[in-house]
Each structure stands twice: as C-alpha cells, then as structure tokens.
C-alpha cells in the first residue's frame, strides 16, 4: 500500500507523455518537472507542447540526440487515435496501452494511476479534516457534558439529517465542483460520525481513576485532555482511520460515477466505472477499474484489521 502511495507520488516519472530526459544539441532537458517546451524548440514544426513519443521517433538513428520516455508514455488526458480503427482499443503491449484505452482513446492505466492518487489524497485530506473537527467536538462534549453535550447532540442530529446528496447536486448545478469544494462539502457533512465515538470514549475515560487522580492533583483541563484522555482514546481513532480512508475513496468514486463529482476530464475511477458499465462490449475498461478498486479497498481493509488487532486492548489489558 505504501509502495503504491510512494509510486503514485512520482507518477509523473512513470506514466506521462512528457519525457523524463531529453538530450538535444548537447543540452539536457527534464520536461517532466520544468513545464511546457514547444515543439519548435527541438526542431519540430509546431509551436505547441512537444509530443515526446514522436520526438523519440524523430531522433531515432541520431546518436547525440535522444529521449528517455517513462515506461508508460501517455498522460491521463491525452487522446490517442490509432490508424484505421476507433477507440476503445483493447490492451496491447505494442502500443504500450497495457490495460487498453477508454472510449476517448485515453490510456486506462494512466487514468487509473492518476485517479488513485487523486482519490487517496482526497481521502486523506477528508480524513484529517473530519477527525480534527470530530475529535475536538466529541472530546469537548464528553469532557464537559451537561448542557454543552446536550446542545451539540441535538445540533449534530439535526445536521445529520441534511440530505448530503442533494446538497452536492445543487452545488454541482451551480458551480463546477473542484477538488477543494468537494472536500469542503464532504467535511461539512461528514465530521459528525467521529463525535459520537469520541464522546463516549471521553465519558468512559473521564470516569476512570487515573483521571480522577490527575484532577485531584490539580491538573488543568488542557493537561487532562491532552495528556491523559486523548492518548487513551487513540486506539479508537487509529482503528477507524483505514476504514475512513476506504469510505473516502468510495464516496469520491460514487460521486464521480453519478456525475456529481470532479468535472471531466479529471482522471477518476468513478468516471471509468461509468464508462465501463455503459460500454460492456469493451470489457477491459470495467474489469480494470473493478480489479483496481477491489485490490486497493482490500489492502486498506487488511491494514485496518491489522491495526485494530494491534490495538486490541483485550490482548494486553486485564480487567478484574
């Protein structure tokens, strides 16, 4: 999983239509990270972005000029049309479309990889924000209890009943939902889940003797929360993290599938899935994405199980 994450961070070097390294007229170029270089710069006859696959063919036979392409030389946005046939193209090693292309002629592997990166980033950001708000409010509810707790309980109940999907649909019809607006909306409607667990956990911990002892010793609220209660609830938080990540990925995929997610042509699993299901005559689209999705979700879930087991208090604690 971590390997996948690490790979996806450097996806530009593995899956990209910009070359990793170009040597031309004695100079070295690193177009992956330096940005746009016009075709004319390398002696081609056009002023737009260089097509490095063509450049490689153009340079073949010249020893002093060469191009080092990534293993999968396609960007997730690029539409590639082959002579005399129409997309979607089936998987082919010769064309370096290892998982084939979608109905617009874009490489599926490239879209899967970049889609994964986007989904996992989205999910981690979502998780961080949700947990920050959820833990803070949940902890406060459990710690202070009373009217504060009561007020927030009712507020959360009301807020939980706002139909999230409708909000997304309304927003999507007014503006183009961007990565950040989507994340924002999902945080606004998603922080409540964690509060309940944190509230219960804080109530439970607060009643324990060690907290009482700390209180008797004159510890401040801040010290009690941050030094005593939070560290003892961390097992709950950690246990939930992998599952929240999985939920984040599925949520984004679901929204994209329904067409309320990120706008086209953002690489997205949901969009691939909807293409796949509406083009069952090209089975490589739907199988690729379902397979990728299953693997990632399984991995996340296994990690979750392992973490849960590692933090299982029953294995280390004994109650009288």
């Amino acid at each position: 999983m971590l390997v996948l994450l690490a790979l996806s961070i450097f996806a530009e070097l593995l899956i990209n239509n910009r070359a990793i390294l170009v040597k031309y007229d004695g100079n070295y170029y690193f177009p992956t990270y330096t940005g746009f270089i016009a075709g004319t710069h390398f002696g081609l006859d056009y002023a737009y972005e260089t097509n490095y696959r063509e450049l490689k063919k153009h340079f073949s036979g010249q020893s002093e000029n060469w191009v080092l392409l990534p293993p999968i030389p396609y960007s997730p946005f690029e539409t590639n049309f082959l002579e005399d046939s129409f997309p979607p193209y089936p998987p082919s090693i010769d064309d370096q479309h290892y998982l084939g292309t979608d109905i617009t002629g874009r490489d599926i592997l490239a879209r899967l990889a970049y889609g994964f990166r986007l989904a996992i980033t989205f999910s981690i950001i979502l998780l961080a924000c949700n947990y920050l708000i959820g833990i803070a409010i949940g902890c406060a509810m459990g710690f202070w209890g009373g009217a504060f707790d009561l007020l927030f309980q009712r507020l959360i109940e009301i807020w939980s009943n706002v139909p999230f999907l409708y909000v997304i649909m309304i927003v999507a019809s007014v503006i183009i939902p961007s990565f950040w607006t989507l994340a924002f909306i999902m945080v606004v409607f998603g922080w409540m889940g964690m509060t309940w667990y944190m509230r219960t956990a804080t109530y439970k911990e607060k009643a324990r003797e060690y907290v009482e002892a700390a209180k008797a010793l004159g510890a401040s609220n801040k010290r009690m929360i941050f030094r005593h209660i939070l560290p003892n609830t961390v097992s709950i938080i950690v246990t939930f993290i992998p599952f929240s990540i999985a939920t984040g990925i599925t949520a984004l995929t679901a929204l994209d599938y329904l067409g309320f997610g990120l706008p086209p042509p953002t690489p997205s699993w949901g969009e691939l899935l909807s293409q796949g299901t509406s083009n069952l005559q090209a089975p490589w689209i739907v199988t690729s994405v379902v397979f990728a999705m299953t693997i990632v979700l399984l991995m996340v879930t296994y990690i979750g199980e392992a973490v849960r087991e590692a933090f299982d208090p029953k294995r280390f604690t004994f109650y009288e």
């Binding site: 999230f164 409607f189 998603g190 599952f243 949520a251």
Partner: protein
C-alpha cells in the same frame, strides 16, 4: 443522507450506490403522490365566461379567392392499423407542461407543442400547404392579411368546438404579460398585428408587413388557445404549470407522475381522422414517456423490449451496440433514412457579455483552435458531416459562400496574440500580461458528449486554450444558458422554415434572460438589417438580406458550427410497421409518435415475436438504407 453512515466505516461500495439511488427514488415517489390531485384537477370550465372580452364581428371584404389543397399525394399508409401502447423515454422530466412561459422551452415541449395544431400544415414532400384547422384560405389585397375559413368539425380534446374566439383569445393570451414570455409577447405584437372574427368559423390575421403569399401562410398563422380553459392573471404561470390543457391534436396527456412518466392518450373520434392528410397517422392509442436519466440505461430497456424504438444516430450505438443476437435474429431491425431538410445548429455558442469573449480576436482564435475535423473523423467515425454555418439546408436562403473556420494553429496564434495572449504558462495555457489564463467554461447537457468535448479540449490545448467542461442535467443546462450565465454553450437550436435572425441576434433580446439571443449579440447595424429582413415582402430581397445577415453573424464569430447529420438512424422491434416509403423528405424521427407518426404497432406481431424469441425461432436480419432523399 445520513452522515453517520457516511463517515464511519465498512460500507460496501455497491451497497453505497444502491443506497444513493434509493434516496433519490424515495423522494421522487413522495413528490409524485402529491401531484396527482393537481393533475386530475377538473374544475368546471364555464366559470370564465363572464370575464372574457367580447370580440367584434367585421365584414368580410368582397372578392376573396378561397384556396385549399386536397390534391397533393398522401404520405401515410392505408395499411396502418390503430391501437397499442408505444413506449418511449425522456432523459429528464419536463419542468412544466405549459407550452409557453418560463422553463417551457425544454425538449419535452416538442411533444406538447406537436399536439397543438395550426391552421395549415406543410406537406413534408412537396412543401405545399395543406388544410388543418382551416379548410380554406385567401389573401387580402394589402398583401399582409390572410383570411381563414375554419374547420367546423374541429374540437378540443374535451369536446368543446374550436371557434374563431379561440383564435381571438390566442392573440390576447400571447400578448399578455402574465405568461412571462417576451418572445411571444413581441411576436404577437410586432409580427402579427391583429386577428379579426367574421363569424364563428371565419377569421383573418393581419401581419405587420406585406410578404409573399407562401411565407404569409407560415408567418401569419396561429394556433388557437382554448379560451374556456385559461384564466389569465398574475398567477397563471404557477397555476397552469401542471394543468392539462385541451388539445386539437390527436392526443391528450392522460397521466402525469412527476419525475417518472407522462402518458398520452389518443382522443376518441378525433376530428383529424377525417382530414385527407391527417388520416392514417398517429396510429398508436397510448404513448408512454418514461424518464430514464441515462441513455445507456435506456438502451438496456430497449434490448429488453420495454421500449419500442431507439435512436441510433450516435456512431457508437450504430456501429458497436446495435449488434448481437436480437439483431441477427431479426427481432430488432435497423433503418438508416436520408433526409433533405434544414439542419439544427449544433455547436459552441459564446456569450459575448463575458469580458474575454467580448473580444473578437479571442472568438476567432477559439474558432481556429476547435478541431472539429478530427472529432468527426476519429470519434464520430466520419458518420457526421461538418456544419458550415447556423442556417444550412434552407435552400435559397442559405449563403453558400460561408465556410466554417478550420482548425489552424497559426491563425489561432495570430488572433490570440493580437488579443494580448502571447505567452504560455508552464501548463502550456496562454496568459496575458495581467497573468490572466485563457480558460473558458463549456456547459453541456449530455454525458454522451463528454468524449467529443474531451477531444476538443485536448486539441484546443495545442493553441494554448483551456476548456473546462461543465456537465449539467439538460434542463439545468438550458436554464443556465437562457439566463445567459454561460461562457460557452455546447448545444443546438432546432430549425424553422426560413432562417430567423431576430430571436438570435437582435439587441432587443440581448442581455436579458429567457430569450434565444444567447450570444448577447448587440449591434445596431445588424438590428437594422434584421428589421428589414423581417419586413421585406420580396423573396429576392429577403434572400439577399439573409445572406448578408449570415455573413455578418459569421464574421462576428460568436458561434462555432460543428456537425450535421443528414439522416436519421433508428432501431425498432419488428412489431413496429412503416409505410412502404418509410418516411418523408423532411422526416425528423421515423418513430416519433407525435411527429409525422406514420408508423403503427402490430400487437399480434408483438406477441408472435416475443414468443419466437422465447423459443429461439429467428427471422431474417433487417437493415434498411433508404437514399430517396439523399442530397449530394
């Protein structure tokens, strides 16, 4: 949705989708229940009589020469059988069932408006006029008045007779502010000046300017509005949003379940069955439009036999999807039928009120950066052809000298550099000196068009332009465009008999919502010519003016024409039967039950086919290609 479920854990993702849909489904269910009462609202119709204006009778001028046309060949088939239920589908539920007023111009209006017949019809093959609600017509000496003798047998679907008063009322109605329809308000004031009644079945319509007779019948025509049904006041728009108006056509809406389906029922003893040209048409008894929000899902319904026909104009459907056992065994048949008629104006419409798009150089730069050729030859498999301009296929009225702007990066570069967008940022998109990026929002309304726009977007990048795609539900897209909140709209206008300019280009319609001037064209010189075109009586002059106007609007570059499709392609279950000539010169859709509607449904054949399919008995495969009306 419940957010506790959402952020906790272990949600099976398939269940998650199911849950989302369930939510959507449930809420619509609730909505539809509450509507039944309003839909079945059959208040007494006579309560309006006292507030209706009384119309003056006038004396018919002498020496009128009454004309009619009963000699053109009929285009329906004597073999047609009546009966059956035709199942069709719509992508989104209409926002209203009114035919005028806010939100009434969506795609469903094609069906509701088709049910309101006019005074005369146009023969689809000869293009001559034929009698419908009027049996005879005559032209006044002033060159701008048409006299009509009404069909005394014509009735509304509620049984009330159609009389001259309904036509008189139609003008009052269309001029009323209560209907909130500026286009109609204007048209029925400045184009149609007055309507007069001579007796219950004779009227005249006076137009603003003299016109050639053949255009007068079209321009100075009118559909009646049922006077006994409407109460015009400031609440009209809301009150009549879902009320079912009586119709003069073959069908009336019988069932409305909001968000789900609309059903049309054929009127018993329809008066039109005695009309020479309407006979043997509109053959099915019930038409059911079900809302299916995705074309691919609709396709699956079709393959299951739950829809009777399916459009195959899209290349991916014709070439890839419409194959397989049901086609090979002849249960489902295919037809490609060439036609010769005005072409809808598909393409990109730019809003010139936008600060960047207001610049002519930018617009021309964009036009040269849109690679329509590549889209046609790759994605669309060369099936569609390049549209040259907005008004193609209008015969003499189309300006043959106008050629679309080709994909040409050099020209694009010249224009865009002239507009100040010289340099490119690290993402290869142009920026001007203020650091503003050359990025535009393109709003469109069908998931099926995403691949086309993705391709155009990638090609436009070569010119340093970024197109950001905004996919909306088709009703929401249309609303955004009519409210002029778009930057670039990906859409097409339907066609008319002759090119129209006032609604698309006159400054009266610019900068205000709910008009068709979606480019916000505002040019005094153009306004003058448009008014001259509207007022001109001589066909030659009109043709010249039309050519000039097309040239000027082409030069303004606010519209990038994309493609035209000079044929219709459809798949249909073999129980649908057509006349021997299949369709006509101007057929839009062969299996449009409210259009020409020449087809019929053979219920015995349906039972037979379904049984054969069950038992695995096959028929010969059928793919018809008809080139009778092909133009080269």
């Amino acid at each position: 949705m419940s957010n506790r479920n959402f952020s906790t854990c272990k949600i099976n993702w398939i269940a998650f989708y199911a849950f989302l849909w369930l939510l959507v489904g449930c809420s619509e269910q609730k909505e539809s229940e509450s509507t039944v009462s309003t839909v079945n609202d059959t208040e007494s119709n006579s309560y309006l009589v006292e507030i209706l204006p009384s119309y003056q009778n006038e004396l018919l001028p002498e020496g009128l020469r009454w004309e009619t046309n009963n000699s053109d060949p009929i285009f329906s088939s004597n073999e047609a059988k009546r009966g059956g239920t035709f199942n069709s589908w719509i992508l989104s539920f209409p926002l209203t069932l009114r035919t005028v007023g806010p939100d009434s111009n969506g795609s469903f209006a094609t069906y509701t408006r088709a049910n309101n017949l006019g005074l005369v019809g146009i023969h689809p093959n000869t293009l001559d006029y034929y009698p419908v609600l009027a049996t005879h017509w005559a032209f006044g000496d002033d060159g701008r008045t048409v006299y009509y003798r009404l069909n005394e047998d014509a009735t509304w679907s509620d049984g009330e007779p159609v009389t001259a008063d309904d036509f008189m009322f139609a003008v009052d109605f269309m001029r009323s502010e209560h209907i909130v329809a500026p286009w109609y308000n204007n048209h029925y004031t400045s184009v149609i000046v007055s309507v007069s009644k001579y007796d219950d079945h004779t009227i005249s319509i006076e137009g603003a300017t003299a016109k050639p007779p053949e255009e007068m019948l079209n321009e100075y025509g009118l559909s009646p509005i049922p006077r006994h049904f409407h109460r015009l006041d400031e609440n009209w728009v809301q009150e009549y949003n879902w009320r079912l108006a009586p119709t003069t056509g073959a069908y009336r809406i019988s069932i409305v379940e909001k968000g789900q389906h609309v059903e049309f029922q054929r009127n018993e003893n329809w008066w039109g069955d005695n009309n020479h040209y309407l006979r043997n048409r509109y053959n099915v008894d019930t038409i059911r439009f079900t809302v299916i929000r995705d074309m691919n899902v609709a396709w699956e319904y079709f393959l299951r036999g739950e829809l009777d026909s399916f459009p195959l104009v899209m290349p991916s459907f014709w070439h890839e999807k419409a194959n397989g056992e049901d086609f090979d065994s002849g249960y489902i048949q295919k037809i490609k039928f060439y036609t010769d008629r005005p072409q809808p104006s598909y393409g990109m419409w730019m809003n010139m009120d936008d600060p960047i798009l207001g610049n002519l150089n930018i617009r021309l730069g964009i036009a040269h950066a849109i690679n329509v050729e590549k889209m046609l030859n790759t994605l669309l498999r060369g099936d569609y052809e390049r549209l040259k301009m907005q008004f193609e296929g209008y015969g003499d009225y189309s300006n043959p000298s106008i050629q679309p702007r080709e994909f040409d990066l050099l020209q694009a570069d010249n224009y865009l550099a002239a507009a100040g967008f010289r340099d490119r940022g690290p993402d290869a998109i142009r920026v001007n000196e203020d650091g503003q990026r050359l990025a535009f929002r393109v709003v469109y309304g069908s998931q099926e068009h995403t691949p086309r726009l993705v391709l155009l977007r990638e090609e436009a990048k070569k010119a340093g332009i970024e197109l950001n795609l905004q996919l909306l539900d088709s009703s929401a897209q249309f609303k955004q465009i009519l409210e002029k909140k778009h930057q670039i709209a990906w859409m097409g206008w339907s066609t008319g008999l002759v090119p129209r300019f006032w609604q698309y280009y006159h400054s009266d319609n610019a900068h205000i919502p709910q008009t068709n001037n979606i480019t916000n064209t505002d040019d005094p010189e153009l306004d003058l010519l448009i008014m001259r075109y509207r007022e001109s009586k001589e066909k030659n002059e009109r043709v010249l003016l039309a050519h000039l106007l097309q040239r000027m609007t082409h030069d303004a570059g606010a519209y990038i024409p994309t493609y035209k499709v000079p044929y219709t392609r459809e798949a249909y279950w073999r129980w649908l039967k057509m006349p021997k000539h299949f369709g006509t010169r101007t057929t839009d859709t062969i299996f449009n039950p409210l259009g020409e509607a020449l087809f019929w449904l053979d219920e015995n054949l349906k039972l037979e086919t379904l049984a054969a399919r069950q038992e695995g008995i096959s028929y010969p495969a059928v793919t018809i290609t008809d080139t009778t009306w092909q133009v080269d």
